[in-house]
């Protein structure tokens, strides 16, 4: 196989892998604090894309309850993206208040939060469908301004092609990742967050308001979800209220592969799965959807705590 072939698949894998990683970070952050998976994260991802769309285009579709409704304003793409992400963050907080806090207060089985977050996901997705309809929403083709749709260059006489969207996905994901790492390691709030994750009781003794920090974590997680949802939505269109589900499931594989609750783990897991899918031989495309899960299973057999997960004696 040629160098061009290798480079092409490397670029493809890094690009989609970085999206998996950012989406997975939202799961991993919540897991690191509460030790539970937030099944509503995929719905927040979807919601973020829809919110940004409406803010940027100022118009609803033709089928939902809000058919034909137009907003009195239209935002340029970047402010719409940021506002959409912030609103997704608020949605993340709502998920916490609705699905997680009441259960924590009552000392319920931690597993029950899986079901209640699933309930919230059901509400969100069906609410989106009720209001927006099930039709496909597509961002106008000029959201990235006048950038060319793709860059094509030659390596060793062979063509390597990269879509601009792939570069943007990779770049934005990288920036989001660095911002998150900086926040967690170099700010007071971030340190408090880590302390809460480490041990909520001790953190409470140290005067850290645990509930507030959990709420904050859900906000950040929602922002990450909303941002990555918008990125995917801009690149590929919003194929109905369920378009986040496939990503949500894959992101679950990512965090388990990388090690639950580990931020570097989510990144490594995302890239590994993205690359493995890209390097799948062409005549095996029918097995692409199985790659992530086979890989996950194989890794867990060797390292039951995931690639970068800490080994903890854990009880159910």
């Amino acid at each position: 196989m040629s160098l061009a072939w290798f480079l092409q698949n490397l670029l493809n894998g890094l690009s989609i892998g970085s999206v998996y990683a950012v989406f997975a970070l939202g799961y991993t952050l919540v897991f690191s604090i509460l030790g539970i998976i937030n099944f509503a994260h995929g719905a927040v991802f979807t919601l973020g894309a829809y919110l940004t769309y409406v803010l940027a285009v100022g118009q609803f579709g033709l089928n939902g309850l809000l058919a034909g409704v137009a907003l009195p304003f239209k935002l340029p793409f970047v402010p719409a993206l940021l506002l959409g992400a912030a609103l997704s963050g608020l949605a993340g907080m709502a998920v916490e208040r609705l699905a997680f806090r009441p259960l924590r207060r009552r000392g319920a089985d931690a597993l029950l939060a899986l079901v209640s977050s699933l309930g919230v996901a059901l509400i969100l997705v069906n609410l989106i469908q009720y209001l927006f309809g099930a039709e496909i929403y597509s961002f106008p083709p000029d959201v990235f301004g006048s950038l060319p749709p793709a860059m094509i260059f030659k390596v060793g006489g062979k063509m390597v092609a990269v879509r601009t969207v792939q570069v943007i996905l990779f770049g934005v994901s990288l920036v989001m990742l660095l911002a998150l790492v900086w926040f967690i390691h170099y700010t007071v709030k971030g340190k408090a967050l880590r302390a809460t994750a480490e041990n909520p009781d001790t953190a409470a003794l140290l005067g850290i308001g645990v509930d507030t920090f959990i709420l904050g974590t859900f906000f950040i997680s929602g922002v990450l979800g909303g941002l990555s949802g918008t990125l995917i939505g801009v690149s590929f269109g919003l194929a109905g209220p369920y378009f986040g589900v496939a990503y949500g499931l894959k992101a679950l594989a990512v965090i388990v592969l990388g090690g639950l609750g580990s931020i570097p783990g989510a990144v490594v897991g995302g890239l590994v799965i993205g690359l493995a899918e890209a390097f799948l031989p062409p005549d095996m495309s029918s097995y692409k959807e199985a790659v992530a899960y086979v890989l996950l299973f194989a890794v867990l057999l060797v390292r039951p705590q995931g690639l970068l997960g800490a080994h903890v004696e854990q009880k159910v």
Binding site: S138, M159, G237, P241, P282
Partner: protein, 390 residues
């Protein structure tokens, strides 16, 4: 509980034949399609089409002057949901059912209606074996056996040098997997070489793996069986990554939903169509006019086929009245259902898809199929399917 059950089963067995029930007025016709779940994109369009049929046909006098009413039930996206929706409509005393949306749901729910002797017309079930489920099952959605090869022949007539073909299809979709079989057969029969077969899922958005493989195989024609969202993204990524040859899409591409997804890059795609909004017949023209009035866009195929399914039922009911000399509302429900089913067989109808005939099995035979080429408007979001095989 266990002692009550045999009793219940017995009662049920008796219930099927013993009751003489009248038909309500307005005449109830059931529509069971998916308006929730990830199949709702198609179900919404089907409901829109059925609503137009209800308005247009009732304005024309319904069934010889008796209006009909459509009862809608959501099947959601699964098999159990379809069975529940069918049961709900059957007990609501509908004379016939239009639905369900997916072929897989039809295989689960149609036998229920068949055993209850309630006629079913499938508006969008295209796989082999639907009409063979039972005597009470028919459909208006034709399998694409003829039109798929036609679209390939058209491309060859424009560019006879084409030799290497890449085939791509959504392997988790029942329609796409059967359609690609027809395409692959036609490619072989035309003496072309299939250089690669790439599979994807209708839920996929990133196709770089598959597109890289197609480019690597050096294909000079790509044939795709996919649906609107995945198909649009696939076309976009093929074009952006440098594929310049002709693209032939299956019937899943016959949806204006696809146009905003690939935008200006949709230009020139050839699409095999079971329905074209441009089709030149009076029924279609009226349908297109009313649809545009209500929904501000051209009607999609799912809406047209749902319209046709309702229309077929209403026209068959009118024939039941003519043959028996009695009003439907004066007849017994079981009798109406039986006669309706008879009149749905060995009959021809002029629908928005042109002339269609249902044979003794309830299998549909459609007279005209279309090969169209997408022409995008300057706004890059809307466009038209222009018929090329007149």
């Amino acid at each position: 509980m266990t002692r009550v059950l045999p009793l219940l089963a017995l009662l049920l067995a008796l219930a099927v034949n013993a009751l003489a029930e009248p038909v309500a007025s307005p005449i109830p016709i059931g529509v069971a399609v998916a308006t929730t779940s990830n199949v709702a994109l198609f179900g919404e369009e089907q409901v829109n089409g059925a609503k137009i049929a209800e308005a247009v046909l009732n304005a024309k006098g319904g069934v010889n002057g008796t209006p009909f009413k459509i009862l809608y039930q959501d099947t959601a996206g699964d098999e159990a949901g379809a069975i529940n929706a069918f049961q709900s409509l059957i007990t609501a005393k509908v004379v016939g059912i239009v639905g369900p949306t997916l072929t897989q749901q039809a295989f689960a729910a149609d036998p229920i209606a068949d055993r209850a002797k309630v006629p079913v017309i499938g508006p969008s079930n295209t796989a082999k074996g639907i009409a063979q489920i039972g005597p009470y099952v028919g459909r208006v959605s034709a399998p694409m056996t003829d039109v798929a090869p036609n679209s390939l022949k058209y491309v060859l007539s424009v560019d006879p040098k084409i030799k290497k073909v890449a085939v791509m299809f959504a392997q988790n979709d029942a329609f796409c997997t059967s359609e690609t079989g027809i395409f692959q057969e036609a490619i072989k029969n035309l003496g072309l070489e299939t250089v690669t077969i790439q599979k994807f899922q209708t839920t996929d958005t990133d196709f770089t793996t598959q597109v890289t493989a197609v480019l690597g195989a050096g294909a000079d024609m790509v044939v795709i069986s996919g649906l609107a969202a995945d198909g649009g993204n696939l076309v976009k990524q093929l074009r952006q990554l440098g594929y310049q040859g002709p693209i032939v899409g299956g019937n899943g591409f016959n949806s204006t939903n696809m146009l905003p997804v690939c935008g200006p890059l949709c230009e020139g795609i050839l699409v095999a169509q079971a329905y074209s909004a441009q089709a030149d017949n009076a029924v279609n023209k009226l349908f297109v006019e009313k649809y545009q009035e209500a929904y501000k866009k051209m009607p999609p195929q799912f809406a047209a086929q749902a319209y046709a399914a309702v229309q077929v039922v209403v026209e068959a009911l009118a024939k039941v009245e003519k043959d028996s000399g009695k009003k439907i509302t004066a007849m017994e429900l079981a009798e109406v259902r039986e006669l309706l089913n008879k009149n749905l067989q060995n009959a021809t109808f002029l629908t928005p898809m042109g002339e269609i005939a249902l044979d003794a099995d309830g299998e549909v035979h459609q007279k005209t199929f279309f090969v169209s080429q997408i022409k995008m408007n300057p706004d890059g979001k809307t466009g038209a399917y222009v018929i090329v095989n007149k």
